[in-house]
Symmetry: C2
Subunit: 223 residues, 2 copies
């Protein structure tokens, strides 16, 4: 009994997530969700007394997809905190590419659609974005003295998250990953300059920067 | 006769822009627009044979608001191209603040809502964003040798536009300008580092950077 209920609930959530993405939250009727999820009205209202309860579950579902599909694999693949940040971008990019520029947009679309009229969902979305910023901030702190000590780690993390969200929007509008790639390349240059600043703190007598450990820092010198 | 018609058309557009912002495009019925704009169904369909025609006019209307309310005043107030970019941010911030975190979002909201199902509107929105990036790119080029010659000017312009769009979303979600301010502060640091790199190209024998002309570059040295 319990597994079956769990499956119906999961099916309702993933069906709703897809419908919300495609046609928006307001435009998606409960009946369509029930029908496409092959569920019953009884089970729907058992799990989700109000449509907004489903919306909250969809937000959590999307956050989980990001965790298992992007953040966790990036952590597994990277041993360097700054590389882990750029691996997150790479994996996000792959998902965007595979999904025909629609992946990732559920969060942006829902934010744009519901932030005026659904305060509880708005707060939950803000929490999810904050958890992403917090994760990036943690990675920046782990980079230690490769970054300037006076760096606003949380501020840079917020720039990263804002940039990605804006870049996803740009990629969708232009049906091209070019805006996303351009934004990431610029973030890379910014990171390289921040790292280089630490390298340059110990300037050799001839005025040449001390060789740095990061391959990116090496790249930037020929930039 | 002509001015009256023009006024009705303008009223339909600004009413629709506000309704689309508040409740979304799909959720806004033509009848509600006609009623709130104090117009008639005849005049509506005279100006806008289809609801999508109105949507295109709304996109142009919002683009015009950005031109007259942000880009033109920023150009008037600034004599320095890089300062003009940051004046654009300041004016945008003021609008966000005055509008209770809703200004600016029509473009983001419409992009999120219509980019899947309205290819013509998606293309128009992409043009508007491209015109903004192009404007920023022009300012970056005007900064001349204050920025590295190998800089991807268009790429940096795209980063700027992506960041702002993402930051607006963050400000709305958090009901706070903090994410917007954090993102802008980081962009400022990035610009300062790019400018400093040009200053550092002529490193003094003692390893100290040659004093730079920009006040931002001066700030960054104590950063």
């Amino acid at each position: 009994m319990v597994p079956r209920k769990t499956t119906t609930r999961a099916r309702l959530i993933s069906t709703a997530a897809e419908l919300f993405r495609r046609q928006g939250y307001a435009q998606t009727g409960v009946n369509q969700i029930i029908q496409e999820a092959n569920a019953t009205s009884g089970s729907f209202y058992h799990f989700f007394p109000a449509k907004e309860d489903l919306l909250l579950a969809v937000v959590d579902h999307i956050a989980e997809i990001f965790d298992t599909g992007i953040f966790s694999p990036a952590a597994d693949r990277s041993h360097d905190p700054i590389e882990e940040i750029f691996t997150i971008f790479d994996l996000y990019r792959q998902q965007l590419n595979n999904g025909g520029f629609t992946f990732g947009s559920p969060m942006v679309s829902l934010s744009a659609e519901v932030s005026e009229n659904h305060p509880q969902v708005r707060a939950r979305l803000a929490e999810v974005f904050a958890s992403w910023s917090g994760r990036i901030e943690g990675l920046l702190r782990r980079a230690g003295n490769r970054l300037p000590p006076s760096l606003d780690h949380m501020g840079l993390a917020q720039l990263v998250v804002c940039t990605i969200e804006g870049a996803v929007l740009g990629a969708r509008l232009n049906r091209s990953l070019a805006p996303f790639d351009a934004a990431i390349a610029q973030l890379r240059t910014y990171f390289d300059l921040l790292e280089h600043r630490m390298g340059a703190a110990a300037v050799a007598p001839a005025g040449r920067p001390v060789p740095a450990t990061s391959p990116q820092t090496a790249d930037w010198r020929s930039w």
